[in-house]
């Protein structure tokens, strides 16, 4: 299958007073047209920075230090700022974690959606307004005329997220980066928002990168999943395989940490915390938390290897057991 987005060895660092923080360390993954790719990991694992790096919007003191981001055949990291602006919001768009603060408090929500049409489609004010109302209807907002004239603080959280999605899909992008789109919404509203995202993604053919720390969400909507730990990518698999046969010790721990109500097993928390990314040692960053740690883990960074079709893992222990073929 053709890859819509191909990220290769993407690295992002933050220069701080204490030293260099390697927030994203040589991450590689692909997104296929029309699919929903989950990116999971604990807080601070570099998921959000990863998404911002794709749009080249990592703000100082952070900077992209290397890698490639190929999107529809061109490397975004080599484009001019001007060309990049034509990509942002038009071909790749983003949905934020907290819709209420991601909407401008002093502009009406209608105006904010209409900006997209003016910015990327050269639409007149009137035309942009008409298309805005269409968009609001598509994301299931009743009384679009009235809602378009309101401000973010006058709308509910779920409604704000629908507005954000309307903004993100206004210009029919090929790729949608959704950064924890359901955090802060109550469960039933979150389910509606996910359903809406999946439905609109399917209808417009847009691929979605869904960043989340909620494996329940992943199981429900994603086609494939990448697992990140401390800025490194540890495993990529289709969603069934990931839950049925996780290979990386971290993924296994994550899956075991899901509380179950159908079986009488205790939930197992993962020991330790995400290690400091401040000048991290070479090797696997999960080494200090890993039950199957080997000597080589602390010296050498494991490569991402193919374990099975649609299943890649970066782990020395798994490699040594011979479960993976060299790519």
């Amino acid at each position: 299958m053709t890859e819509l987005l191909e990220v290769r060895d993407l690295s992002v660092q933050f220069d701080t007073d204490e030293g260099v923080v390697e927030a994203v360390d040589a991450v590689s993954f692909g997104v296929r047209a029309g699919e929903i790719l989950g990116v999971v990991g604990e807080s601070g694992s570099g998921k959000s920075v990863n998404a911002l790096a794709i749009l080249r919007l990592v703000r100082p003191p952070g900077r992209i230090v290397g890698g490639q981001v190929r999107f529809e055949g061109e490397d975004l990291l080599t484009l001019s700022e001007e060309e990049m602006r034509a990509v942002r919001g038009a071909r790749i768009s983003m949905v934020f974690q907290s819709p209420r603060t991601a909407l401008n408090p002093v502009l009406t929500v209608g105006r904010q959606i209409a900006r997209l049409f003016e910015l990327h489609r050269g639409a007149s004010r009137r035309d942009a307004r008409r298309r805005t109302l269409e968009m609001l209807t598509r994301v299931g907002i009743a009384e679009p005329e009235r809602r378009a004239r309101q401000y973010a603080h006058q709308l509910s959280g779920g409604m704000c997220q629908r507005v954000m999605i309307a903004m993100a899909l206004a210009t029919s992008p090929r790729l949608l980066l959704a950064d924890e789109p359901t955090t802060g919404l109550d469960v039933s509203i979150a389910a509606q928002v996910l359903e809406l995202l999946r439905d609109l993604g399917r209808r417009t053919g847009a691929a979605i990168v869904l960043i989340t720390h909620d494996l329940g969400v992943v199981a429900e909507v994603c086609d494939r999943v990448t697992v990140m730990h401390a800025g490194q990518l540890v495993e990529v698999a289709d969603v069934r395989t990931l839950f049925a046969r996780p290979l990386h010790p971290y993924t296994q721990a994550l899956v075991r940490a899901i509380p179950r109500i159908d079986q009488d097993v205790a939930m197992e928390p993962i020991p330790g915390a995400v290690p400091s990314l401040l000048m991290p040692p070479p090797g696997c960053r999960y080494a200090d938390r890993c039950p199957r740690v080997l000597d080589v883990c602390r010296r050498e960074r494991p490569a991402l290897l193919v374990a099975a079709p649609e299943h890649e893992v970066a782990c020395h222990a798994v490699e040594r057991e011979g479960a993976v073929a060299i790519r």
Binding site: R85, A86, S93, M94, L103, L107, L116
Partner: protein, 277 residues
């Protein structure tokens, strides 16, 4: 609802009425003034408060009420133009410094610090003395001394605004930096700007009057409150009290009204101050 908050408080209502009164007097001066402000009357020099001259006359027999009303025009016009210029310039520089950061910020803010290092009044005095005291130069002098207030205010607001998620969101949809600042961020800085401009208006009126008081501002025969106060001060010992009292009261009431209105606006527009008395 906000309007109610503005007029609900007796003090702020009085301030608002006071400002409206002065503005109305300034706008309608030729029609509401009982006499021509420059018309002399040899029969009625230095006459005290009377029905014919409600606030008395000066040494040339000119009607003081008419002169005060016409002076309101000059004082408000100079203060308003200076405030408008300073606000535009200051907000632009502040937005640039705050959003761009780096050396642009350093350069602009050090320049602003340099202006702030001078006492504002001495600086205004220096500018009018150096450039000559035309009305335009007076406006320029006051505007320059006020620019730092707005620059610092907007820079601070910009530093906050550019880190917000809606700024981030504006970047992700492909806005240019200029569009982000003008369309998305500056509107969020308007409330503190209005408050500051109102307070600064009072201060600007005071500066016009003060410069004219020492002879560097508006020149006779054009009447101006500060200059009238200065002239009137000479008559205190000889008993013509109305010549210094009324111009002084005009200055005081106007400045006070702007300050009170500014304080109330702060309470109304600044959400953090809501409910705080």
């Amino acid at each position: 609802m906000r309007w109610r908050r503005l007029t609900g408080n007796r003090l702020s209502l009085a301030a608002l009425c006071g400002i409206l009164l002065v503005v109305a007097a300034a706008l309608l001066a030729p029609w509401v003034a009982p006499h021509d402000p420059d018309e002399t009357d040899a029969e009625a020099t230095l006459s005290s408060v009377s029905l014919r001259h409600p606030l008395g006359t000066d040494i040339y027999g000119r009607d003081q009420l008419s002169r005060l009303i016409h002076a309101a025009r000059v004082d408000l016009l100079v203060a308003l133009s200076a405030t408008a210029i300073a606000l535009t310039l200051g907000a632009t520089l502040g937005a640039l410094a705050g959003y761009r950061g780096g050396w642009v910020d350093q350069l602009l803010m050090r320049a602003v610090d340099a202006i702030m290092a001078f006492p504002a009044f001495i600086l205004a005095m220096g500018i009018t003395a150096a450039l000559g005291n035309s009305t335009a130069n007076l406006v320029a002098a006051i505007a320059i001394t006020h620019v730092p207030i707005y620059t610092r205010l907007i820079r601070g607001e910009m530093l906050k605004a550019r880190e917000t998620e809606y700024a981030e969101a504006a970047r992700t949809v492909g806005n240019r930096p200029r569009q982000i600042v003008l369309i998305h961020l500056l509107p969020n800085c308007v409330p503190p700007l209005i408050v500051q401009a109102t307070l600064a208006m009072g201060f600007a009126v005071l500066t016009v009057a003060a410069l004219s008081f020492i002879g560097l501002g508006i020149q006779p025969p054009q009447s101006e409150w500060g200059q009238m106060t200065a002239e009137g001060a000479g008559y205190v010992v000889s008993g013509e009290w109305w010549l210094v009292l009324f111009p002084g009261l005009a200055i005081m009431a106007t400045v006070l009204a702007f300050n009170l209105l500014g304080d109330t606006l702060r309470d109304v527009l600044d959400p953090r101050m809501r409910g705080v008395r």
